[in-house]
Every structure is written in structure tokens, then in C-alpha cells.
Symmetry: D2
Subunit: 423 residues, 4 copies
């Protein structure tokens, strides 16, 4: 719930939607944006600095339109709303058959315990709530790598309950928001949280996907020496071609000043890495969930002390060495927690994709065009998103002649590239 999200809500409202809103991250709500939206555009269930309990309570509340209503469409970011509905439906089906309620103690995952608790408590009051919701739902559009991965898994398992549009893999999303957004918001977050001089520092970027590429570019340009860690040999070779060293975290853990995780995976920086870091090394995550960094291991490290410098900026001091590291945003997305997220221009690209996806789902709701599968937007819509943003930057596009279009076998008005084109 940033200013940019607020404009998205206003846009959807202007298009005729009735909107209810919750956040995708306990730290990322900008309270002034939430307040503005709450006053005139949508019901808002979010504030900066929620607990996990509050976060899931908000998610559940946002989905509740009262007895006769419910969402027709979901605009998702991270997939938590979609997850809650799917888990809810699963529990209701089990309950209908067996009268068994979901058991939070059946999982070790603290956050999932909360999800199960919320479903269990709701089930007692209304054993068909999520089932009615899924029956009404026309579809979801999802914009993160993480959320999309879940959708494809559900598609593969045959458990996806409604059509989904993967907005994340629009070119105008993944190659813009992920890359250029992070190139902007990583240094922004570092500066606001720590005021550290980036020039001259050694920075480790874990992962060299689109997010990692944006982060590495930003750090290199600001004068840091950047070292990349990668599992994928192709991405590793790309890093090398840009003059970046590719090493393992173990190789550099005690030498670097700044560590950034961008992997979308878990267990990237473990407490045993953190113990070996230099005093006041900065550790942050811009990739995915807080489990990229071993926050659990850190919190439970015997004798560790947490000193909050300011909100979202904590110094953790290890007892053996009395040296400490600076962890940003409690291991969660630092650009949302410590700065204001991605800037408007790039979010406009992403959200234009979201709006176009929502319009498409709604327009085709009765045609059967979209089954219970995951779709990407067709390329001409992707190109349209880009075209809509060129005027603001003063660009003049060149027009193909008929002859040229025929020569390269594309329509004059596009789309111009085959589906596999990588940009």
C-alpha cells in the first residue's frame, strides 16, 4: 500500500470497481496513502508495522464483503490472498466430509499456523465462506515471481480454483519493475536506513536474476566493488561479462560490507554467515520473503543482542565477538520497509499490466477464453503498456513501412517479436 498502489485503486475505482484492500507485507504500508484511500476510494485493511497475526487478520477481513457479496476479481501481489482462499476451500471440503477442523499444530511454520488458525476460526462461523468466494471469483492477476510460482504449482497439481493471469512475466513488468525498480530502490533503502557511503565498499549480491541485475548495477554505479553469488551458470556468466566477480558467500563473507539477497529462494544468508561478518556489515533482502535471511537463526542465537537503531534498522550483536551486523527491515523487503518501494514511473508499467489483466478477465468472464490455468498477457498488450509510457519520456517511435514489415514478417502495428524473444 504505497502511493502508487493508491493510484491503482483510484484507477480501478474510476473504472467502476468496488475495492477492498490489504497489504502484502507487514512493513510496506504507507499510512498516509492508506488514509487517503480509506477516505474516498476503498476499504483499507493495512497499516505500517503489522504483526503477522494482524497481517493475516487484515487479509481475511479484506476478502469479506459480508453475507451477500464477495470479490469478483483479485489483484494479488505475493499470492497471499489467493493462498488463503485456496487453503480455506481445502479446509471447508475436508470439514464437509469429515467434520475435521484444520489443526495449526500440524505445521512447524509459524506463519502457516496463523493461516490455519484464521481458517479454523472462520469455519466454525461459516463453513462455506471460501467455497462461495471461489465460485464467484472470475480470476486473479498476480505480479510477483513468488506468487506466480505458487500459481504454476497449483496449475501443475490441478488445484487452481480460478483463472490466473501472470502479470509478473509481462516484459513490461519483469524487465522493468524488477530490474529498473530495484536499481532505484535498493540504494534508496540503503541510504535512508543507514546513510552508508556506497562508494568504496565491497557489496555481495546473492542472485543475478532481474532483481539482482538491478541491484548489482546500482551498487557498481555508486562506486562499490560488487561480488555476485549464483547457482545458474548462465546468469553467472552474465555477471562476469559485466566485470563482476562470481564467488560463493563463504568466499567473501568476512570481507564484504554490504550483503543483499535477491534470490527468491530461502536460507541464503544463515546465522553462521552473519557471525563471520565484519563489524557493522549491512545485511538486507530485496528478493522475496524474510527467509532469504536466516532471521529465525539470528533471533535464536544464544546471547545475541538486538539494538534497534531506528524502525527497520537493527544492529544485532554477537556475544563472542561483541561485534554486530545491521539488518534492515527485519529481513523483509528492504525497499518497502526502509524506503518507499519502487518509484511511480516503473510501478505505472506494472500496474498498467494489472489493470489490463483485470479488464481482460472481466471482459472474457463469460466466454470461456480463460480456464483454470495461468496465462501471460498477449504480446500486443505488453507492447501497449510500453507504448503508453513513451510520451512522458519524449520518445519518437519509428514506423515500419509495409515493405519492411513484410520483410521481417510482422504486422506494421506489431507485435514485433516472437514469444521466446528475451529483450
Amino acid at each position: 500500500m504505497t502511493i502508487q498502489t493508491a493510484v491503482l485503486i483510484e484507477t480501478l475505482t474510476a473504472l467502476g470497481a468496488e475495492v477492498r484492500w490489504c497489504s502484502c507485507n507487514i512493513f510496506s504500508t504507507q499510512d498516509h496513502a492508506a488514509a487517503a484511500i480509506a477516505s474516498d476510494s476503498a476499504a483499507v485493511f493495512a497499516w505500517k508495522g503489522e504483526t503477522l497475526q494482524e497481517y493475516w487478520w487484515c487479509t481475511e477481513r479484506a476478502l469479506d464483503w459480508g453475507p451477500t457479496g464477495g470479490p469478483d476479481l483479485i489483484v494479488d501481489d505475493g499470492g497471499d490472498a489467493t493462498l488463503l482462499i485456496h487453503e480455506g476451500v481445502k479446509a471447508e471440503e475436508v470439514y464437509e466430509k469429515t467434520r475435521q477442523l484444520p489443526d495449526p499444530s500440524s505445521t512447524d511454520n509459524a506463519e502457516f499456523q496463523i493461516v490455519l488458525t484464521i481458517i479454523r476460526d472462520g469455519l466454525k462461523a461459516d463453513p462455506k465462506k471460501y467455497t462461495r468466494m471461489k465460485e464467484r471469483l472470475v480470476g486473479v492477476s498476480e505480479e510477483t515471481t513468488t506468487g506466480v510460482k505458487r500459481l504454476y504449482q497449483m496449475q501443475a497439481n490441478g488445484t487452481l480454483l480460478f483463472p490466473a493471469i501472470n502479470v509478473n512475466d509481462s516484459v513490461t513488468k519483469s524487465k522493468f519493475d524488477n530490474l529498473y525498480g530495484c536499481r532505484h530502490s535498493l540504494p534508496d533503502g540503503l541510504m535512508r536506513a543507514t546513510d552508508v557511503m556506497i562508494a568504496g565498499k565491497v557489496a555481495v549480491v546473492c542472485g543475478y536474476g532481474d532483481v539482482g541485475k538491478g541491484c548489482a548495477a546500482a551498487l557498481k554505479q555508486a562506486g562499490a566493488r560488487v561480488i555476485v553469488t549464483e547457482i545458474d551458470p548462465i546468469c553467472a556468466l552474465q555477471a562476469l561479462m559485466e566485470g563482476l566477480q562470481v564467488l560463493t558467500l563463504e568466499d567473501v563473507v568476512s570481507e564484504a560490507d554490504i550483503f543483499v539477497t535477491t534470490t527468491g529462494n530461502k536460507d541464503i544468508i544463515m546465522v553462521n554467515h552473519m557471525r563471520k561478518m565484519k563489524n557493522n556489515a549491512i545485511v538486507c533482502n530485496i528478493g522475496h520473503f524474510d527467509n532469504e535471511i536466516d532471521m529465525l537463526g539470528l533471533e535464536n542465537y544464544p546471547g545475541v543482542k538486538r539494538i534497534t537503531i531506528k524502525p527497520q534498522t537493527d544492529r544485532w550483536v554477537f556475544p563472542e565477538t561483541n561485534t554486530g551486523i545491521i539488518v534492515l527491515a527485519e529481513g523483509r523487503l528492504m525497499n518497502l520497509g526502509c524506503a518507499t518501494g519502487h518509484p511511480s514511473f516503473v510501478m505505472s508499467c506494472s500496474f498498467t499490466n494489472q489493470v489490463i489483466a483485470q479488464l481482460e478477465l472481466w471482459k472474457e468472464k463469460a466466454t470461456g477464453k480463460y480456464e483454470k490455468k495461468v496465462y501471460v498477457l498477449p504480446k500486443h498488450l505488453d507492447e501497449k503498456v510500453a507504448a503508453l509510457h513513451l510520451g512522458k519520456l519524449g520518445a519518437n517511435l519509428t514506423k515500419l513501412t509495409k515493405d519492411q514489415a513484410d520483410y521481417i514478417s510482422v504486422p506494421i502495428e506489431g507485435p514485433y517479436k516472437p514469444p521466446h524473444y528475451r529483450y
Copy 2:
């Protein structure tokens, strides 16, 4: 036929192949490399500075193993060998049915007239040559955007005569050779041909695909102010995000110092553009055929004078203004004509793809795995190409744990990305 191609030939020979070789470009043969190969590895039909007649004669000769032999596999670059065989077969089929010989005057295209002439002349001597050839052929692997486009057109038309592997769209080809290769070889060609100082100049890059991105990066880094022309709004927006201005050629034609075409299309810089350029503006092509630049229009411009500064560097003077422009490599690929092409490291990536493709075609020749279609290499082979090149650059890859691999749903040993991933 560069030094790198020579090593490819030596590699194929070492793997057991008997190789015959011709060039894909009338200017790109390095005679010392050709001589070395001719002396010990392969029959070579190429030299630097062929006429178009000689070029196609070479192509035809390279394919001729004598009465009892013929190629089993083709390693193609630009698709001219594949084209000749397809046109040859088509002509032989017509001839068999109708006794009609191909008529060179049936086309306006000067180069295609040569092709038809060669086929016609061969047809009289042996009316089944190309037919026998296509029957023997196990497949082709092709490495250029241009050649691949032709293959897909033949696949679409149902005229493709044997299986084809599209090596161009391996990530380790298109995102390396095209991008990093041109980032190296464009300034190399400019410097060798003209010694021009790039810093401070205004450079126009027509097209912002992988080749254009490499060229624009090289020119920007060398201190030029770079302006991009594009038809595709997505690529245009990428250029803008890198701080490059996006305008039409008309907007800047009389202001810029250096013009580079990278489009893969035709009719990009016309003689009417060239007339308006500043004195000694440099015009060159690194994208595709010489028809990116209107060489025909230039040559036929009334009163134009061509002054050859040195081979591949011509000054063309217009009679009205008595000012001239510098055209490199007669409008053909300037990095091959004016420098030595791409450097070995990146060509090794491309050629490793070629070798792997050739091995794959040969291994599967009897299994029916490959039909008369166009295939890209599977991602694990693409990743293997990258992995083979990391050691030379001192990289240490990170290994996934089992737990992490499960978490992101990939095998520990890869492949790590979904097919649509863009890198």
C-alpha cells in the same frame, strides 16, 4: 572464416568430421586463418574480398563432395548454404516435372539472380544433385537471427527439408554473442576503420535489440551521446531507462556523427538520409545484410563519387554539397569487414552451442527425435555451455541444497529457469 571459425573446424575434425568450408560474408574471411585450415583440417572455399559471384560459387563448391559423397550435417551462419540447397531442390523438382530451367531474369534481386544462375548451370550437368543432398542430410544448425528467421518461415510454409536446430536463440548465443560480442567489435571496427574519437560524438544506433544494446552500451561507455531509433515500444522503453534518447532517424540525421544499423531489417538508412548528413559522418551496419543501408541508392546517386580511403573504408561525396560520408565495409557487417569479428571467448560460447547441436543431431539421426522442424537446444545444454566457460574466468558457482532446490522446484543440477525466462 575467422580464427575462431578455424578452431571450430579443428574441433569438428577432432570429433571425427570431414569438413568443407565456405564463408558467410564476402569480406569476413581472414586469409591467414583460411590458409592454416586449408593446410591441415578442411577444404576451404573462401578468401577476403570475394565478389558476389565468387561467393556463391564458393558456397556451391563447398557443398560438392563429388559423386559419391555429400554433407551429412550443415553448420550454417546466415542460412545461405541452406538456402542454396532448398532452392536447388525446388528447381530440380520443377525441372523434373516441366523441364523448365530456373530463369535468373525472373527476379530483380541481383544476388538472387546469381543463385538462380548457379543452380541453372548445375542442373544441366546433374539434375539430381540437390535432391541427393537433401536426402543424405541429417540436419542443420544455424546461428544467426537472419538465418533462423528463414528457417521458421520454411517451417511455417511446410517447405523445410530437414531438421534444424536454432542455435541463435540459445541464451548463451543471443544474449552473449549478439550483445557482448558487438559491444566489443563495434568500437573495434570503428577504430580500425577510421581512428575516430568516439568520446564527444553523437551516435545513432538504429535498433535496440541485443545487437543494438551492445552497440549502444559500447558507444555510451566510450563517451558518445547515443540516440536510438526503434519500432518496438518495449525496446524503446528499455533504451530510455538507460538514459538514451529515442528519436527517429529524420529527427537527428543532420546532427549525428556516427550511424550504426543493427535492425535485421532493410531500408534503414536511405540515400536521402545520407545526403543530409554532416561532412564525414560515419555510416555502418553491424546487424544483417548490406540492405540495412541503401547501398544501391548510394551507388546510383547521380554524380556521387566514391573515394576509397583504404579497403572497407570509402568516402562517398555528393555532388550538390561536395561533402561526403564515410561508409564502412560497403554496408556489410563492419565488425567482420573492418575488424576481426567477435573475440574468441564469446565465439566459444556460440560455437560450443554449434558443436553440441551437431552432436545432438548426429546422435539422434536414427531415432526420429527431430522432425523437419526448427528446434532450440534444451535448457540444460544451454546451461552446460555457460558452465564450461566459467572456469576460465575464475568463477565459483554456488550449489543448491536439496531443501532449497525443492523450495523453488528445480533439480539441484539444473535446469534452473522456466523456458520463458528472459535473462
Copy 3:
């Protein structure tokens, strides 16, 4: 009064000084830093958001040690403390001879009216205050271009009252703080104040000195297209060599998105420029006083409306067009007003120069080494500042052999460069 200044104060205190402190800028005091210092290290006369009256009251108060004391040394930044003393002494001399008090109405400059008022009011109470102060003063060290310029003018006019060390022109100040400091703090200030995406925007940097070079580099690296304005042909040629366009403000005023003044001069962006800017163009100053931007003209523009978005971020709307521009920090230094100034590492270089200068002045106070002139630090001290900062960044210096040192005629231990060397 940033965190870095606080550490400087603690350092001076630890070296034995008794410190009183005021700010050099009405917006730049970080209240938490001021509070920390006030509690244990020094008397502080500064807070964020002073009026000009309050600012000069603070300056006067900071200099007042009571009847028996007074400053022995001044650490100056911008030269206002030095100015006040010089103006005070001048007024006291006139008063002693003529009994004339200074007349604030004798000047049009609103700020100088305040200075004269403060001196006039003080003069009635104690007509010898500044005279006693200058007699006690051993010297001043000054770190800004602006302050140094005043000192050289006073030296040229023969009015300098005590020795001065020009810390600004230490290499480890001007080529670090001005260049690398601004490269960091300009985007920091822009992001914090406006969250604007820099990539894709057109930015005008007025002035290409060290500050301008840092700003232009930061903006270019962040993906802006940067246009430079310059009066000096050498600096202009440097900009061109980096691929930056050099134009006048008039050429681009209605096309650009971001305007930054870095000149150290006045009247750079006038209200007539601002009227022609695009809606929501951002205008800011990182060079010098707020008169780089015509704030007076803006404030007095008929019908103009000021909308404060948040402190230090104002939108000024012109009545004719109803479009507005965003002015940062009321035209004062935006990196101090909208962000936290330069980061610690580079300020450490600057302040190490200050401390070394203070130690030098104090050590030589009785030797007559320093006359009433302006001095720069000797090169071996400049090199020492750099050497003290290398360890933190993991650098290993190479040592000259005796033979090599003789060959290039420098001592093994330095200094290594002639005085005119430009770095």
C-alpha cells in the same frame, strides 16, 4: 550539524578543545545529532528549520564565551562566523572613530540587514566584543568553495584579520567531498524528497565543477539523460568527453524534468525560467546559497501559489498555466535539507583535514609560521588524510624502492606529486 559533524565535535573535544557550535544552514541541523552533542560534548546553537533571524542569532551566540573567554580557533563552513567577526570589527572601528552605528537600511540584501542589525544591537552593549575576539583568534580553517572565496577576497583587500587555512582545496576535500559526496547525496535528496524515478528523465546540471561532475555522474548512472550548462570551456569540454550534452538553460528549460544548480554563482535559474518548465519539473540547488535559484523572484511572482507537499518539498503553481514546479529545500542545499548530507566516509576525509588544520594552527600559534593570509595544507598532510582512510577499504599500497623514488625524484614516503598536479 549532521551526525558527522557531531563526531568531529567529539574528536575536537577529545583532543582537549572546548567547543561551541552553530549551523551553517537553516535546514541542515539534525536535531538528534544536536541533542546528543548538547548532552555531553559542546554547547549547541542550532535546530532544523531556523528562520534567518534565528540563524544569525545562533551564530552570534555561539561566538560568545562570556566576558572572559572567546574562541581561539574557528572551524568554519561557508564562512558566516568569519564574516560576522570581520563585519563586527569593521563596525566597531567605525563606531570608535565616528560613533556611527551600522545602518541595516543601507543594504538591499535582506540577510545582510539581519547581520548589521545583530552587530548594531551588540555594539550598544559591548563596543569591543569583536575586536577582543579577533585579537584572541589564532586562526580559522574553512572548508567550502564559497567561504574560501571570501577569504581570498579579504586577503587580496588586506582586510583578513587572522590566519586562515583553506581546507576546501585539499585534494582529499575538493576531489572527494565535492565530487563523491554529491554523487551520493544528490540522488539521496531527490529520492527522499520526491520519490521520483530518475531513469528515463532529462536532467539539467548547471555547472560542471567538482559538485556538478558528481551530480552529473549520479544522474547518468541512474539512467537519466543529462544536459550540462557551463561558462568555462574547459569544464564544458570535459562534460562532452563524458557523453553529456552542453547547452544553455534557455535551450532546454521547457524540455527537462530535473534541474540542479551546482555553480557557486547566483541567478542561475530565474523565475522566468521556472515559468517555462514542464508541470512538476523539479528544481534544486546543491551548490551554494539559495540565490543560485531566484527564490525571491519566485516568491514575489504575482499570483504564484506555494503548496507545501512536506517540509522542504514545495510545489509552486503559476497562475497563467496552473502548472507547477517542485522546489526542494526552499532553494537551499537540497542534500542537507532533504537528506542527511554527505555520508560519513567522505565527511571523514573532509573533517580529518579540518582537524589537521586546527592542530597545525594551534601548534604554530606562537611561531609566526602563519601570517594573516590564506594557506592550503602541505601535500604530505593531504596524502596523510588519504592514507588514514585506505585501511577501512582494504587497500594495499605499493611501496617505492629507493631506486624508483630517485628515478622520479620524490621521497620514498612522499609527497608524490608536484603542487600543480590535478588528480
Copy 4:
């Protein structure tokens, strides 16, 4: 004797001079440029690939105008002509007093033995040649760091025989030719000599002065990982601020792929370093004389084998390991030996300084303005050189108002900066 030098000669000739010319480097003469000049503008004593004997013979011959003439002015580059005259005069003075001839065996330096031999042989024929020469000489202008260092030493020793203008330390020379010239010509030389892909390689730049800065920037931008060696802590800190690692040669000698010396000192890369390098590591010098690299040690290394790949590109194979390194231009300036030196635009800046210096010396020859000392050009002439080059790059300078000029205390028409300004 490059194309650019040829234009300088034509310019001097057009201004009325009679010119005789020799080279400053045994490899750098471009024979086509020399031939063109010899045919219509000046007597030329130079060819590509001289022996050292031939080189000094050429220098002596170029200075010999026959019995009645002699040079009035010298345009020097490296100071060898100036050296020969000073050594000649010294020898003639000794000879006049003592009848002792110079003894080549009095020195270990092979090149200086040649100088003494030439002087000795000339002395027998004409014992007053150099004395007459120095009496006629109005002055010299010198453009290299190395040549200037010698001039200042002679000034310090009181042995300078005529006025000298240090053109090297014009801003428009040292901050342009050295920096931007090398940024262009280092990769140019590497590419032409070796075709090596720079991206992904580890490059060591020895020295981070202007030349080193240009080289490091070029290598970094081309995708290399750059490590700098430095003796000067200030330059080292500058490298760090650009994200470059600062280490000693010993730290990285066995890890790097490309080594470049830029120091102006001797004994930078010794044979014991070269023995430890990776196979096919590239070693080159762009700083100064060939003694930056221990060519003598390499040539005399027991069992070493030299394999000439092509002129100026030698592979030296060590017997113990049978691995070899690639040495460019026999350790001499690789941009002159392997490419064509700096491009015209930047050489035009340097040579405009030379021409202005020559005009100044000649205009003031009778006024006594210039004594037997070393002078730099006044800043207004330095600014004039820059101003003359702006139009070609399309720049529009801003003009100061009278009010602004007064405010910063400079004349409206410049010069704009104090002498110590570093740019």
C-alpha cells in the same frame, strides 16, 4: 609521426615555419603519414620500426639544418631532442676545456651509450655544432610528463639552456590527452594486437594518474574487473571511490589476465612477476619508456623463448613451465606500437597547445618575457584551446552576466578558475 602529427606539421608550415621532423618512438611512425609529409611539407627522419641506433641518428639528422641554419624552435615530445642538444653542449664545453671526448663506455645504459657515441662522432667533425644550436634556439615546447620532468630537473640544476613551455600541464593536455586519449587507445591497442575479449577478464592497471584513470575506465567499461596498484594514497583512494580494488602487483600477479603499466616510473613489472603470470597473460605499457616493464630481464632470462605472433606482439615462453606471456610493442607505448595512437580530436587539443606555445615563444623572443625556465601556458590560452574545440561537438556555452562575473570575481570572458583549480 602519426596522421595527427602530420597535420601539426602542415599547420606549422602554413604558419610560415620550415620544419624538419623525427619521431619520439622507434615504433610509432606511420609510414604513410611520414611519406605524405615528406612529399610536400617537411624533411622527415623517421620510419616505423627503427633500431635505437637509427632512432638517434634520425634525431641528430633532423636537427642539422646545414652549416648556416638551425632550429629556432623545438616542438618536443619526450624530450629527446632537448636532451641531445643539452648533452651535446655539455660535451662541447668539456671538449673545449679538456679536449676530452665523451666516453660511451662510461655508462651502463645502452641507449645513453648510443647518445654519447653520436655526440662523440659529431664532435670530431664540428666541435661547436650544439653550441651554435643552443644560441640560436628561442625555446622548446614539450608535451609529455617524462619530458617535462627532465626540464624541471634542468631548471632546478640551473642547466636549462633556453626557455621551455610545459604544454603537458595545460589542462587541455593532461586532463584530455592523457585521460581521454588513453581511454580510447588502450582498448584499441589491445584489440588490434590480440583480439582478446576484455569482458570478464581481470586487468591490473599499475598507476592511477591521468593515464591510469583513462585505462582503468576503458577496461571497466568494457567489462573487465580492474585492480589498481598505486604508491600515492590519494590516487589510491580515488580508485577505491570508483569501485576498483587497490592491491600490490604481488597480490594479483598470478590471477590477472591483462597487465598495463601507466606509471612514468621504471621497474614496475619485473621478470620475476612475469614468470608467475598465467599462460597468455598480456603485458603492456602505455605510460612511458619501455623500462616500466623489465624487458632487459625478460630478454636475458635463461632459456626464455620469444615467438613473434606478428609485429609488436610477442609471446615469451618460460622454460620451467612452458607457459608464455604476450608482450606488446616490446614494452614500449602499446597505443603507438600496436594501434595508431590517440585519435585526432584529442590530439588536436594537445597540438593546439603546442602551436599556441610556439607562437608565444616566437612572439616574445625579443622581449625577455621568457627566461631559461619552464613555463606553463596562461589559463586564458588553455581555455581558448578548449573553446576552439566546442563547436565541433555542438556545445552552447553559457555567458556570465556582468553581475554574476562580479559576484564570483572573474572577468566575463575568463579565465574562470584560480591557478590551483584541479578540474
